[in-house]
């Protein structure tokens, strides 16, 4: 994907964020295109995960935070008063660094979100389970084990189950926070493959666990350093031809 046909899915404007008195994000502005994989990368503590959690308002669960600036999805301010947060989180799925299956079976994990949303019909749920596991490239491996405990799957399978669990809500945006950090290379490959397929339908924001992964998966990339957005480029050119000296040094491995 390239050229001028990009549409903006999420727009972040002058966003600053602090918790416990520490500034985690400084005046970040950025536009995230629809149906692409956007990568947030940089050294630990740069604010990538914080920004990710702000996009589906997961940090609402924390106390003692301060925020200024705006986040728009499809032009709507997601922090506007009266926003239905549950609905927002259904549209913006999240996959965490560690596979976190909920207690219960594989099927129960996938059905969890739709059931909370009030969906009860057996046949529709059945279909959702199939579709989600299919899209997460997991169906063939575990189609006979839908009713076994989710924690009995391997780490890679668990993480794809977590992706499937988010997809079950047919979100528009999928946030992934180092989803392969605990996985072996083969499982990592499988997760990445499923992401390539997913971007046709979803807008994906990925915090990769390595620069290599960033370079492999990115359609566009943002480099974060100590709460600051240092450089943002559409396309992969940041990896070969960074404008900012700090990004270049990080990418070529001179620090971080």
């Amino acid at each position: 994907m390239s050229g001028d046909k990009r549409t903006t899915k999420i727009e972040i404007q002058n966003l600053s964020y602090a918790y416990g008195g520490n500034l985690a994000l400084r005046n970040v502005s950025l536009e995230i295109p629809a149906n692409e994989i956007t990568v947030f990368f940089g050294p630990a503590g740069g604010g990538k995960t914080t920004l990710l959690r702000l996009i589906n308002r997961l940090n609402d669960l924390l106390d003692g935070t301060e925020m200024s600036g705006n986040i728009y999805m499809d032009g709507n301010d997601i922090y506007a008063p009266g926003t239905n947060i549950s609905e927002l989180r259904r549209q913006v799925g999240m996959v965490f660094a560690l596979p976190l299956p909920l207690p219960g079976t594989v099927r129960e994990n996938v059905e969890y979100g739709p059931r909370l949303a009030g969906l009860r019909q057996k046949n529709i749920l059945e279909e959702i389970v199939y579709n989600s596991l299919m899209q997460a490239a997991l169906w063939d491996e575990i189609k006979d084990r839908l009713d076994s405990p989710a924690h009995s799957l391997s780490g890679g399978q668990q993480q794809r189950l977590c992706i499937a669990r988010s997809l079950a809500l047919t979100p528009q945006v999928l946030l992934l926070d180092e989803p392969t950090s605990g996985l072996d290379p083969i499982s990592t490959g499988k997760v990445e493959d499923s992401l390539y397929n997913l971007k046709e339908k979803y807008t994906i924001i990925l915090v990769p666990h390595s620069i290599q992964q960033a370079a492999r998966t990115a359609d566009s990339a943002a480099f974060f350093l100590m709460g600051e957005l240092v450089e943002y480029s559409l396309g992969k050119k940041i990896f070969t031809n960074a404008r900012d000296k700090r990004s270049e040094e990080y990418i070529t491995g001179r620090f971080g």
Partner: protein
């Protein structure tokens, strides 16, 4: 061997001795009550009304009364206790009010049982005019068991990993949905254990029911929550101190029934706890 090692030997022996001094009397108490109480045990003893001014017959109404009081206590104490625990573990922030609640719970746990009895008499029996009744007794016992249930349930809720709550929220769940679908089911074994321990306390206490429900001698079963009832611990007190010429056998028999009831519940709670701890997925 050096002096230091002799000192260590002597010290360890002293520690072992104190442990023995704790355990052996307990074994003697249980052993003697079991041995002497067994001879009173019979189907009649457990299922018949007392006769001859309690010097013959069974202790059926006392057993039923204690069970009814436990049920009454459970009905009140479980929702309030578990609700409080949910509040403390899931909703409360660390502020002045929360600290006040914790302080209140610590104090509830420390108030003497006979003071609960006075309170029950003042509020339920006299002020609310429930009379000496199962209702008054159950409410009094329920408030007394609250701190036990609250602390056990809160600990169980807190031991459920935070991540589950985050995941549930990220899938569009409201706070209450996360609690109901994930946190509560996972904490349930711990909560049940706490409830059992609370009810066990309620079953064995005498002082709180002295003036709120207990009947000295009432050879019939209660018909409503406004009736008095006999209860095992009070019955044991009565027949061992208030009735001259009481056959020792019946006294030991009553003590044994009460002991068995309480120890069975205790055992049940421990088994439940270890069973679920092994089965836990996190």
């Amino acid at each position: 061997m050096s002096r230091r090692h002799w000192a260590q030997r002597a010290g360890f022996s002293l520690l072992a001795f104190s442990a023995l001094m704790v355990v052996i009397p307990i074994l003697i108490v249980i052993g003697s009550i079991v041995m002497r109480g067994m001879s009173a045990m019979s189907w009649e003893f457990l299922t018949q009304m007392p006769r001859d001014g309690m010097k013959a017959g069974g202790i059926f109404p006392a057993i039923v009364g204690t069970i009814l009081l436990m049920i009454g206590t459970a009905v009140v104490a479980i929702p309030v206790g578990v609700g409080s625990a949910i509040y403390l573990s899931e909703y409360a922030r660390d502020n002045f009010f929360t600290r006040s609640i914790r302080l209140a719970i610590v104090n509830l746990a420390g108030i003497p049982s006979v003071v609960y009895g006075l309170f029950g008499l003042g509020l339920f029996v006299i002020f609310l005019q429930f009379g000496t009744s199962i209702l008054s007794g159950s409410l009094t016992l329920a408030i007394m068991t609250l701190p036990i249930i609250i602390s056990a349930a809160e600990e169980a809720l807190r031991s459920v990993p935070t991540e589950f709550r985050t995941v549930s929220a990220s899938l569009g769940g409201t706070k209450w949905q996360g609690i109901r679908k994930i946190v509560l089911p996972q904490a349930l074994p711990g909560i049940i254990t706490g409830v059992i321990l609370g009810l066990l306390r309620a079953a064995g206490e005498t002082a709180p029911i002295l003036f709120t429900v207990a009947a000295f001698f009432l050879p019939k079963l209660p018909e409503s929550v406004f009736d008095q009832t006999m209860a095992l611990p009070y019955h044991l007190y009565v027949i061992s101190t208030q009735v001259p010429g009481m056959p020792l056998e019946i006294q030991y028999g009553t003590a044994l029934v009460l002991l068995v009831l309480v120890l069975t519940l205790n055992l049940g709670a421990s088994i439940l706890r270890s069973y679920f701890r092994r089965r836990r997925q996190w």
